[in-house]
């Protein structure tokens, strides 16, 4: 497919007000590569964070709204106009003491499952290097974030499950155990939990295919796979059985031990668990291939190329894997934002705009 007809998420203009150390910024990025340079602590990651917030409606660095608003100010604002297949859609997010307000084309919206599918984005940042060795939560977050964008039903399912889980945990912490209150939430967890597991299983299967391709490309010979390891698998009835069997254990521990909130993923290289056996270099290959796979699955599921946010990743990858990253980026044709302290090390091919951030002020180079 020629690149100019590829449907993609593309920001035509971005404006920030009182976002972290950025008092005010107007930004007209290139539809392809945008290289944002600046010394440490100047505001490069802040810029990436603001764009990510438009797609994910949350930050990847904090869950505290106050931290995002410039110190001493009362609110922050991110506005963007999306071009190309989004036909000039404008999205604005206002963060204040009261809460968060989102509007699309000037109208206030309550984001539903389709919101995330409309603006798919893939973030690649140094924190992702934890994907292989980190706690299961790191991998669940990777999976969930992708599923929020890939599956319109998932965001609601996820929130409902969390709500049911919190209710069940409250019930089991109270003595004596009130079965009348427990049974309804066991049912809810079984129904929602089995749906979450089904979504995750289908998604991981698809992701694994692209991951296998990615690992092969990057390593030049290794075979990769991603295995979904659900804590409980099966249908609603199977879930109910497990909840029943673990009831006493759960009461003793004071929380629900089994369910999708305890799931994990296994990255495999040549049939062996990367967590246990992969070398440093292989781990970097896994992370890079996982991000490549995420991008490809999302572009398939959302019918448009995600916007790509690369925060300082070149410094985390060696020369060879950097070459593969940029090979991949040249091929996909999406809009890319790359931050770096060394812009001359970023070897892009194709249209490129260079910007510089100095103490929160953005300028075109």
């Amino acid at each position: 497919m020629p690149q100019n007809t590829l449907s993609k998420v593309q920001i035509d203009s971005l404006s920030l007000v009182q976002f972290r150390n950025i008092a005010r910024a107007e930004f007209a990025p290139s539809p392809r590569f945008n290289v944002i340079s600046g010394r440490n602590g100047m505001g490069k990651t802040n810029l990436i964070e603001s764009i990510y917030l438009l797609g994910a409606l949350r930050s990847f660095r904090t869950s505290v709204r106050r931290e995002i608003i410039s110190q001493g100010e009362r609110d922050a604002k991110i506005s963007a106009r999306f071009g190309q297949s989004l036909h000039g859609l404008s999205v604005e997010i206002q963060l204040g003491a009261q809460g968060r307000q989102i509007s699309m084309d000037g109208k206030a919206v309550v984001p539903d499952g389709d919101y995330f599918r409309t603006l798919p984005m893939v973030l690649f940042h140094p924190g992702n290097m934890e994907l292989v060795q980190g706690a299961p939560e790191t991998r669940r977050r990777f999976l969930d974030r992708a599923l929020f964008q890939a599956d319109a039903a998932y965001p609601q399912l996820y929130r409902q499950y969390a709500r049911a889980l919190a209710n069940r945990n409250t019930v089991i912490r109270r003595q004596p155990l009130d079965m009348r209150a427990l049974v309804p939430f066991d049912s809810a967890l079984a129904k929602l939990g089995s749906q979450i597991v089904a979504s995750r299983a289908a998604f991981t299967a698809q992701l694994s295919q692209f991951f296998e391709e990615g690992v092969l490309e990057v390593s030049g010979g290794n075979r990769g796979a991603i295995r979904y390891r659900p804590r409980v698998s099966g249908d609603e009835a199977a879930f109910l059985q497990v909840l029943d069997a673990k009831r006493q254990l759960d009461v003793d521990r004071g929380y629900t031990t089994c369910g999708p909130h305890a799931d994990d993923l296994d990255f495999e290289v040549d049939g062996r668990s990367a967590k246990k056996y992969a070398s440093q270099g292989q781990q970097r290959t896994v992370v890079l291939a996982a991000k490549i796979a995420e991008t490809r699955v999302l572009s398939q599921r959302c019918h448009r190329m995600p916007l790509l946010l690369l925060d300082d990743v070149s410094s985390e990858l060696d020369r060879d894997r950097n070459r593969h990253l940029f090979l991949f980026l040249s091929g996909v044709g999406g809009q890319v934002f790359i931050t770096t302290t060394h812009p001359d090390h970023i070897s892009t091919s194709g249209e490129r705009a260079d910007f510089c951030v100095t103490n929160g002020a953005l300028s075109s180079l």
Binding site: Q156, R163, A164, N167, T170, R174, R180, A181, P184, F185
Partner: protein, 197 residues
């Protein structure tokens, strides 16, 4: 009127849901400018509320009589009960006009997370009515949220020993939306298409 009275009324109004200090103050100054007959009428009506409005001992509805006018109406089918979370939901179903049974108001949904357990809902009375009135069907019209569904299951459990048929309004009501704000046509259809639990 001393400014103490203004402050006091502002403080009283700001305890109402959705009314902050600023709105409360605006309301007070609006009342000070308004027609005095209107203000007296408003005050007297508010003052009479505790003596005029009663909680129905049968269904939990609030009305000027106890039992409420719905429970006292002999033309309504006492063997069919529609269970709602709160009174505005009862009104929403009533607006449709096709439901001719009786109601039962729970005054809440099962939500241990928010401190609402089975004993905090108006369930003992429901059980009692179902047994005493030879009720044939109980329709649970709680909203389709996690707590609304859990409450429906709790009601089913609570009434299991009575043998009454328990049904749930159909999924026509959009998820997470409130019964009160669901349009009458959608609500009518959800009632008509109810499913046995």
């Amino acid at each position: 009127m001393s400014s103490g009275t203004i402050h006091e009324l502002t403080a009283l109004l700001s305890r109402l849901p959705g009314i902050g200090k600023r709105t409360a103050a605006r309301l007070v100054f609006h009342l000070l400018d308004a027609d005095t007959d209107y203000v007296r009428h408003l005050g007297a009506t508010v003052a009479a509320l505790p003596d005029k409005i009663f909680r129905c001992a049968i269904c939990g509805n609030l009305d000027e009589s106890n039992p409420c006018h719905l429970c006292a109406d002999p033309s309504r089918d006492a063997t069919l009960i529609c269970v709602v979370e709160r009174i505005p939901d009862l009104w929403a179903v009533e607006t449709g006009g096709t439901f001719r049974g009786r109601y039962h108001v729970l005054h809440g949904l099962l939500s241990p997370l928010d401190g609402v357990g089975p004993d905090d809902l108006n369930l003992a009375l429901l059980h009692q009515n179902v047994t005493a009135q030879q009720v044939r069907e109980v329709i649970v019209a709680t909203r389709p949220s996690v707590e609304g569904e859990a409450t429906a299951l709790l009601i089913q459990q609570t009434l299991a020993d009575t043998g009454v048929a328990v049904s749930r309004i159909a999924a026509g009501v959009p998820h997470g939306s409130e019964i009160e704000y669901t349009d009458a046509r959608t609500l009518e259809r959800a009632l008509a298409d109810r499913k046995a639990m």
